[in-house]
Amino acid sequence: MTAPTGAGGTRTALRRNFRRGVWRVLRRKPSRLLGVLILAGFAFMGTVGPLLYPERLPRDDDALYAPPSWEHPFGTDFEGTDVLALVVTGSRYVLLTALVTAVITVVLGTAIGLFAGFRRGRWDTVLMRITDMKLTIPGLPLLLVLSTVWKFESALEMGLVLGLLGWGGVARAVRAQTLSLRERGFIEAARGLGLSTGHIVGRELLPSMAPFIAMNMLIAVTGAVYAQVGLFFLGVLPFEASNWGVMLNLSVFGGGALTSTAALPYMMAPLLAVLLLTLGIVLVVDAMDEIFNPRLREE
């Protein structure tokens, strides 16, 4: 029997095909390539970016709210610190928290959705009632209230709370997917063959939903950035000079950026960062849509 080696060989070939397919999908629309580049840029910024600057960013005591210049492309902040440096050094925290949030949201949502959809019956009813309830409780106000009780000191904690609040949507979607996959013969067949639930969920259901989950994950990242930067912007989370939301808050409520131009660059920099990140994610999700579509994978 030569099957295993043959299998292995073909599998690498398949992987190569898949990579080629990805490349083709990306190339077909240059915008998608742009999306990948943007995300890569942010990844670079989050990992290497902060290393480019000293741990304590220099200040220029005499150039508060300096206008943009070669030296300070986005001007300086209230204290005379380069705004670009703040955005770059702040990206790590923002992205890390967003990632943690997204992971927790998706893991929790997937687990609950899978469980409810797979078990069905009473468990499903109970879990979905809870989900409904969760979706009924207003999220942002609840966060505002929570932030008075809970200090979001670490990125992990922050992600945990945002994740705990955010899994509802994912759970619903995953449940729906699970229910529809469940109707597919292969899950039933696996049960008929006596395969363990662990196997069915881990090996049969999850891989089928992987693209869906991956996409949800990316979308959850945007959601997490949204929520997190937003909370900082509202000023309910502990101060972090380089946090994008804090920058927005101080520029608008401290610097009067919506009235006068001095603090405008200070506001625009984080704003553009969020915008660009969203754009990158949107473009990549668009590409993923196509990459993971099995029909398009075939050719």
Binding site: T136, V145, L248
Partner: protein, 346 residues
């Protein structure tokens, strides 16, 4: 329809049954969520009176005066044990009495909510409808041109607007229209110099001040509509009955109406749901444009530890969401004959 004899459809009773079930479940949901929020609200640390004292003092009031001004508040604080407060609160709910505000003592919470609601509901409704109409139209266009440049651009911009947080849009619009090119007011509901009344001047000012909030809201939700409509239209276009209609030689207009009506159906549900969310969703916009709606009221009530007001706002939001859910479901069953007959109820 005169040409084709109308036949009484079974469904009235089914609809009523559905409604009753929904109402019961909604009531339970409201009770649970209200109790939960009561527990949470009462456990927020921070003394509203001490904070008000310090604020007044910071504004330059002398300590004596500030003390006098805050002493008044003790009478408005909820009395008794937490359990008593809870039962009081729930009993109040039955009579729609939400109590009096702490931060503006003497004001009925219901009145405050009502007056703030105007400033939220009108602009958000306007924004939603605007974006709905625009998004749906563009969504159809994006679906028809989905393989072209323009369709691509439409859907990418839709996704982008959908993904970008509201406050980013609000700040960007603010930066452009109030700072760089100051043609629009950045805060408030109307020019405070203009006497309110049914005058053209005042209404014009109202409209002018509403432009940014409405525009932000419209832009932020527009993306969602365009995406939803596009995918809905694409699905319907792929449905066999559309091809069948074309092959029967139905006029373009009729085919378009078939597509549009079938595609827009699921969107009405989302519309109803999103209208339910509007009671709590505008915190960012209202904070940025200092627009005195429900979001800002809620934000301030939390900052001032105005327990009754907070409770009232939470209740309003919850009820709105629950009601919107019910309406969405009923709406769906009224406009979709498939659901009406109970075929897809399982």
């Amino acid at each position: 329809m005169a040409l084709i004899g109308a036949r009484a459809r079974p469904g009235k009773t089914a609809l009523a049954r559905r409604l009753a079930g929904h109402l019961a479940r909604g009531l339970v949901m409201v009770l649970v969520v209200t109790s939960l929020s009561f527990v949470i609200i009462r456990n927020i640390p921070g003394d509203p009176i001490a904070a008000r004292y310090e604020k007044l003092v910071e504004q330059g009031m002398s300590p004596d005066q500030a003390e006098r001004a805050t002493a008044v508040l003790y009478g408005f604080m909820p009395q008794g044990t937490v359990w008593e407060q809870y039962t009081d609160y729930m009993a109040g709910l039955l009579t729609l009495d939400l109590g009096q505000s702490l931060s503006t003592p003497g004001a009925e919470v219901t009145d405050m909510l009502a007056s703030a609601a105007t400033w939220t509901v009108v602009p958000v409704l306007a924004g939603t409808l605007l974006s709905f109409l625009l998004g749906v139209t563009m969504g159809v266009y994006a679906a028809i041109r989905r393989s072209g440049r323009l369709g691509d651009l439409l859907s990418i911009s839709g996704s982008l607007l959908h993904g970008v947080p509201q406050y980013v849009l609000a700040l960007l619009l603010g930066a452009v229209f109030t700072t760089l090119w100051p043609v629009l007011p950045s805060s408030g509901t109307a020019d405070i110099m203009i006497e309110p009344g049914l005058t053209a001047e005042y209404l014009g000012s109202l409209a002018q001040h509403a432009v940014l909030p409405v525009l932000t809201y419209a832009l932020a939700s527009y993306g969602g509509w365009i995406l939803a409509m596009k995918s809905s239209v694409v699905t319907v276009l792929g449905d066999d009955f559309i091809l069948a209609a074309e092959l029967r030689g139905l006029s373009r207009g009729t085919v378009f109406r078939y597509v549009a009506r079938n595609a827009i159906l699921p969107l009405f549900t989302i519309l109803a749901l999103s209208l339910g969310l509007l009671f709590g969703g505008a915190i960012f916009i209202e904070r940025i444009f200092t627009y005195p709606g429900l979001g800002l009221l809620l934000f301030d009530s939390i900052a001032n530890r105005d327990y009754p007001l907070m409770g009232g706002a939470f209740l309003l939001i919850t009820v709105a969401t629950v009601v919107a859910n019910i309406v969405a479901d009923l709406l769906y069953s009224v406009i979709d004959p498939r659901v009406r007959s109970g075929e897809e109820s399982a």
